[in-house]
Symmetry: C2
Subunit: 134 residues, 2 copies
DNA sequence: GGTCATTTGTACGTATGTATT
DNA sequence: GAATACATACGTACAAATGAC
């Protein structure tokens, strides 16, 4: 499993593919720490840019979580929990605003789901924590 | 309106704040092109990195769309359309996979909403195109 | 409590590829 | 074809958070 810089597929996506494979097959188990960005960069002989971009992809997919000063670990895919929409409520998905990121302790690349009732915000969830039902 | 590199608030967020302000107040009207990344970088005396990061934030919020070789323009707001969840359907939000990005012509930083019926994907939407109702 | 090494976050620069005009 | 604009990818540097000691 190696990186081809000349491939049409961007390097950062190749790295994301490799790590995703390791996560979904269990080589990297839930709760396990990934190697540091520097270590990964050295391992695959790519820049830290590409590694960070790859990790951002995986965060967006809800596969890993990253903490500053600590590192990146495999999420417990334990489960999204159901959230039901009530009458008169509607939901949108988008990237979080700054206060939302702070409140939910979200890292880069993680979307939120916002539930409105009568054009007022009722709930804000990290997207990978929930699924919406009728 | 200027950037303070010594502020606690990251430069890219300060830039995003400025542009967001201009969009929401109408200084940058829907459909209007933003200055190029290079132009913005020169204007605010920051690196292109910070500009790109700022634009990524705005894309995630659904405020602008970016096309390679063309530029970034202000989205027509208030054009999310309602999508109703049917019985047995559920929806999740996340960042898109690669095929999804291609199919929907999404750029960096834009989440998707995926509708499932009986654990099978039924629809995939760019998050900023829709809102979900019961 | 304080110090240090480690790790991620931000920010700059440069270069090259690719899509659009 | 040429110019413009975004995408990717490398490098460097420093700040800030964490954990170990």
């Amino acid at each position: 499993v190696s990186i081809d810089p000349r491939s049409d597929r961007p390097v950062y996506r190749q790295v994301a593919d490799i790590l995703r494979e390791q996560i979904t097959t269990g080589t990297l188990a839930p709760g396990a720490m990934l190697p540091s960005e520097k270590h990964l960069a050295d391992t695959y002989s790519v820049g830290r840019d590409a590694i960070r971009h790859a990790l951002s992809v995986l965060r967006g997919e809800g596969l890993v979580v990253t903490s500053r000063g600590e590192g990146t670990k495999v999420r417990d895919l334990a489960e999204r929990r159901p959230v039901a929409l009530e009458d008169g409520q509607y939901a949108i998905a988008r990237m979080p605003t700054d206060p939302e990121r702070s409140a939910l302790k979200l890292t880069e690349g993680v979307p939120v789901v916002v539930i409105y009732a009568h054009d007022t915000v009722r709930h804000v969830f990290a997207a990978h924590d929930i699924y919406l039902t009728k």
